[in-house]
């Protein structure tokens, strides 16, 4: 998964659907920790399309 910070609206929807709890909303900053299992929940839920699928060699 690729996160584009410039598209983020800081709503935390991504953090709420991450099954691993590795997305943290810290004020006006999203931190994506290591360990993504590529479940794509964040991609589906982000209202602003800030998450996109990574190419295979980027996962």
């Amino acid at each position: 998964m690729i996160f584009q910070a410039d598209l983020c609206g800081y709503c935390g929807a991504c953090a709420s659907v991450c099954p691993l709890g590795i997305i943290e909303l810290n004020g006006y900053k999203i931190e994506v920790l290591e360990g993504c299992n590529n479940c794509k929940n964040c991609i589906h839920i982000c209202p602003l399309g800030a998450f996109q699928e990574a190419k295979k060699d980027e996962i």
Binding site: G9, Y10, C11, G12, A13, A15, S16, V17, C18, P19, G21, E24, L25, N26, G27, Y28, N41, H44, I45, C46, P47, L48, G49
Partner: protein, 382 residues
Amino acid sequence: MKYDVVVVGGRISGSIASLYASKQDVNVLMIEKNQEIGTPVQCAGGVTRSFFETLQMKPPQKLICSEIEGAILHAPDGEKFLTKNSLLQGYILERKMLDKALAIKSAEAGTDIMLKAQVKDLIIEKGQVKGVIVRHQGKLLEIPSKIVIGADGVESQVARMAGLHNGHNPQDLISCAQYEMVGLDIDPEILEFYFGFNKAPGGYVWIFPKGENRANVGLGVRYGANSAIYYLNKFISHLKGKIVELNVGGVPIGGPLKKTYSHGVLLTGDAAGHVDPVTGGGMHLSAVCSSLAGKIAAEAVINENLSSSYLSRYEKEWKKRIGKNLQRSLKYRALFDNMDDEELNSLIKFLNTNDFKSLSTLSILKLAREYPKLFLVLKNIL
């Protein structure tokens, strides 16, 4: 630094919970991750009169943008249904100002407020939550407390840290985007809702007036091939207004969490899933549940009983007040989830004509047998 009650989250649920705890003369700290209360806005600002009645407050006139008298439902085929049922009457508020007003009320009652503070973990001893670990102004602080109330929204870290929730299923979250717009041709007393798979798959579009020509125009989507902002940009392309604000958010519509309390912890607001699964509205439920959370947390401190069994009275109490409504709303959501555009067209036609024949070919009739009160409710509400 040591408190009786720490409330995590400084929006309306946090402010109401901390206000009701502080009213009982216990030491209360409210922690907010942002540097100001009320932003970024994640709400359309609509609230029923019951919100203020529950809080025994007069609606502050300076926060009211418009008073609502009714609503128009737009079917996917363009058919409109206007209703002026008293249950729809309420206010569109300047939400960020409401959050701040409630935080001020809580502070005046004695609550300390810590801004730009991120809860990193709970202090847990022998299974009992005994405070929070917070990052604040470059330092990691341990703040002991007897009770922690998680009012930290849909992405609640307190719920995860307390082992009460492990994240939402995306099907139970609606992805929302909203513009505040000016220069619109609207009726300032009427809400508008648009339905249809092309407009807002799995959700609906709302126009909530904030004055003569100003409104929050937003939508929520699920199962969409594109993000909420894509559908919103498409919808507003035929409107003449100008954009003055953008808000986004995820709204939990899967019903309340299985458990909203633990040893030394209570959850409230979006963090507890206290949101109506059909409308996505939660402020009226926050008023009920968050005031209970604050009151019962303070009572637990005063009675020196912080056990899970004592705190279970919070869940018993909110279930008594709103539990049945939430469960019924969940069933209706399941019903609406199964309706396609043709069925929505027929339903709105039915509401206009009151003619049950228009429903005879619909699969909702079969479903309605399982929920016979639905039509009664629709007729009463609409």
